[in-house]
Amino acid sequence: MKAKNRDQSLSDSRELDGSYDQLTDSVEDDFELSTVCHRPESMDKLQEQTKFTKKELQVLYRGFKNECPCGVVNEENFQHIYSQFFPQGDSSMYAHFLFEALDTNKNGSVSFEDFVFGLSIILRGTINDRLNWAFNLYDLNKDGCITKEEMLDIMKSIYDMMGKYTYPTMQDDAPREHVESFFQKMDRNKDGVVTVDEFIESCKKDENIMQSMQLFDNVI
């Protein structure tokens, strides 16, 4: 009897403050039941699998854990972190693509291992590795070739990061034109898609790109 009364009054009060959803018969709790905590593999293992030294891993992990104490980054968090670097534009789309590229096991969150593997390839990998990673980033459906639509999405996301206030004023077809020139350069056999080999070959021929790739040698 007592328990029933308590339940009854509980549900009454829940009805009053609106946290009781009569449609789905569920109760929204004010707090999350548990924060999913993820611990990375041991540092030795990570050191074997990536090309970072112990100290570098430590620095990276400290920064990672500071921002995400629960050990994983979900996409929203990720977009928020990345947007701090680009105050003027909208970096959410590009951050989404980055997230997709980092989340190799497609479970919706980037753990420290994913993070470090990605960084290891970009910062410590060979030119081929890096180009492969970039290709993987562009290839949205991971089918081994980049279509014009995929490239257009990527290009739009990059241009979005610039924001509205640019000089000269951003035209609406700027991304499209850029995609056209990109395909002109990369698509050797003119079949409308860029495969990984075409991509790597064309990039290696381009001096500018090669030079830019060397930027990553000293990042950490």
Partner: protein
């Protein structure tokens, strides 16, 4: 933000997505600073040892611990930094470096805390939201305590003579404590308000029968002349006061609209209207009614009493609750009056002649007054009557605590809202000064944004420059219609760099390859970017378009650490530039 600094390497690595699509190579990255010390820093504060990483402390380079100032406290023999300060408060200061939020411990003394903050070079404005209100409240109390002491000494001093006569008068009227004259004015007007109200009251008291009459005569009629003189005197004083206030008011229109002035007017108008209409017997009835308005003079006391003003304000703000009370009472009255009427209909010589007549009974019963002039006689009537009185107690008792609690809530809230408003201003000012980002971080972020600019071949500009440029572009299109420069938006445009007369933080980075044109890049940081508006220079630099093979590129270097100062010749004929939208040329 400093919090984003750990993710900076990732953000830089993420730029790999831009490289293959950019047609120009990326700008040179800023040099890396290799920090020597990688181990923990030991901070010994009066014996309590704290340890942290060096870069935790260096997040805030503007403070003692984050800058080289801490070297002054370094002890060689024990390889630690020694501070002879309070370790309990230091804990909070160190937490600030770790988490970015400064908290205020409630059990600490506010002045001790302030001293520690001042020593370590931390501005109190960055205290986190959770503790900021408490901090400011304590601070204010402390300040008030000091202020009271100071004021007592200073109250003898005269006000500065900078105020004009009009302003002094206004201040004297509004605040009686400013000068003796103001105080005198305050008491005199108060006295006359009281006298006037008393006279109005005393006028109606019966003063004994007049000779040869039976009827009692009121004092007003007996001593009509005396009362008239008194009234005249009072009204003269009030009129003079009102006119004076009107004259010295800083904003006359606002003054006339204010509640107090309306009360003043209403208080003295009856007299004047009475003067005008005194001879006309027909409207003497109306004249008597007007006298009622004289009672409004008592509201003039609200200038003298702050409590009255607050009461008025809270009644105004509790209007909805009062309305609810009235509404529920009305409902109950109508219900019970109807019931009582029909219950008493049967009995003879019942006073409940109609439902409106029963209203009176219901009101008197529900408010537990019970005059007894109307009582139910039938049994049903008595039953319903008792129900009525019981429910009356409930109906009135329920909304009253709501009104009371609303009152206290509004009161506290208005105090808090005012406090927070004042705090917010100083807080924002403090935020702007504090948390200067690590130089290193800023430099790298700037380079990152440069890479993005390169990739998209557009530059960041500030909002207002963007709007100016929009205007310029239309102008440019006008001017150079025949010119081949603006034939298509993506052909080579020579946006001739306007000569900047104002100092600007433009950083110029030339490509390392000499095939590229020099680009003038604009820092997107809040530093002033001024591309001066299109002027006559455009005319002369128009010929300097892409056809000319050699353009001397001028370099404007900035004091910013990111500026790379290089000079070189730029040739425009390169085929790589089919993508380049911007040609920045500065004509020297």
């Amino acid at each position: 933000m400093a919090a984003g600094a750990p993710w900076l390497p990732f953000a830089r690595a993420a730029a790999i997505g831009w490289m293959p699509v950019a047609s120009a190579p990326m700008p040179v990255p800023p040099p890396e600073k290799r920090r020597g010390r990688d181990g923990l820093i030991v901070l010994n504060v009066s014996g309590t040892k704290f340890q942290t990483w060096p870069d935790t402390l260096e997040r805030y380079p503007d403070t003692l611990l984050g800058s080289t100032e801490r070297d002054f406290f370094f002890l060689e023999e024990s390889n630690e930094f020694f501070f002879d300060r309070d370790p309990d408060i230091f804990r909070h200061i160190l937490n600030f470096y770790r988490t970015g939020k400064l908290h205020f411990p409630r059990q600490e003394c506010i002045s001790a805390y302030d001293e520690e903050l001042a020593f370590f070079g931390i501005i109190p404005e960055i205290i986190g939201d959770c503790c900021y209100e408490e901090y400011k409240d304590r601070h204010r109390e402390d300040q008030e305590r000091i202020q009271d002491d100071v004021e007592m000494e200073q109250s003898r001093e005269l006000v500065s003579v900078e105020l004009s006569f009009r302003e002094t008068m206004w201040r004297a009227f509004e605040n009686p404590h400013t000068s003796t004259m103001a105080l005198v004015l305050y008491y005199v007007t108060g006295f006359f308000i009281a006298v006037s109200v008393m006279a109005n009251v005393a006028e109606t008291v019966p003063c004994g029968a007049a000779p040869n009459r039976v009827r009692q005569v009121s004092c007003g009629e007996r001593y009509a002349l005396a009362f008239f003189c008194l009234d005249t005197a009072c009204v003269m004083i009030f009129t003079v006061e009102y006119v004076l206030r009107l004259l010295v008011a800083p904003s006359r229109y606002k003054f006339v609209k204010s509640v107090m002035s309306i009360i003043d007017v209403v208080a003295i108008m009856p007299y004047y209207i009475g003067l005008v209409m005194a001879d006309n017997e027909d409207v003497s009835g109306a004249f008597v009614t007007l006298r009622v308005f004289r009672v409004f003079r008592i509201f003039k006391f609200s200038r003298h009493s702050a409590g009255l003003r607050i009461l008025g304000y809270t009644l105004k703000s509790c209007a909805s609750e009062l309305g609810f009370l009235l509404f529920s009472l009305t409902m109950a009255i109508i219900i019970f009056a109807t019931v009582m009427f029909y219950a008493e209909k049967g009995s003879s010589d019942s006073k409940f002649t109609s439902i409106p007549a029963a209203f009176w009974y219901t009101i008197v019963t529900m408010t537990t007054l019970g005059y007894g002039d109307m009582v139910p006689k039938t049994i049903m009537g008595k039953i319903f009557g008792s129900v009525c009185s019981l429910s009356g107690v409930l109906v009135i008792a329920l909304p009253v605590p709501v009104i009371v609690s609303n009152f206290s809530r509004f009161y506290l809230q208005s105090q808090r809202a005012e406090k927070r408003r004042a705090q917010k201003v100083s807080k924002e000012a403090g935020q702007a000064l504090v948390c200067k980002i690590n130089q290193d971080y800023e430099v790298h972020q700037h380079h990152l944004l440069q890479c993005l600019e390169k990739t998209t071949n557009h530059e960041f500009v500030e909002e207002k420059m963007y709007h100016e440029n929009c205007r310029e572009v239309t102008l440019v299109k006008h001017v150079s219609r025949s010119s081949s420069i603006l034939s298509s938006p993506h052909s080579l445009t020579s946006c001739c760099a306007r000569r900047n007369k104002k100092n600007s933080n433009m950083s110029v980075a030339l490509q390392s390859s000499f095939q590229e044109l020099s680009t003038i890049q604009i820092r997107e940081r809040p530093s002033v970017v001024s591309r001066s508006s299109l002027n006559a220079n455009f005319e002369e630099t128009v010929p300097l378009n892409c056809d000319q093979p050699h353009i001397t590129a001028a370099v404007i270097s900035t004091p910013a650490p990111a500026g790379t100062k290089t000079a070189g010749d730029g040739s425009t004929g390169s085929t790589n530039d089919s993508q380049v939208n911007i040609v920045g040329v500065s004509a020297l």
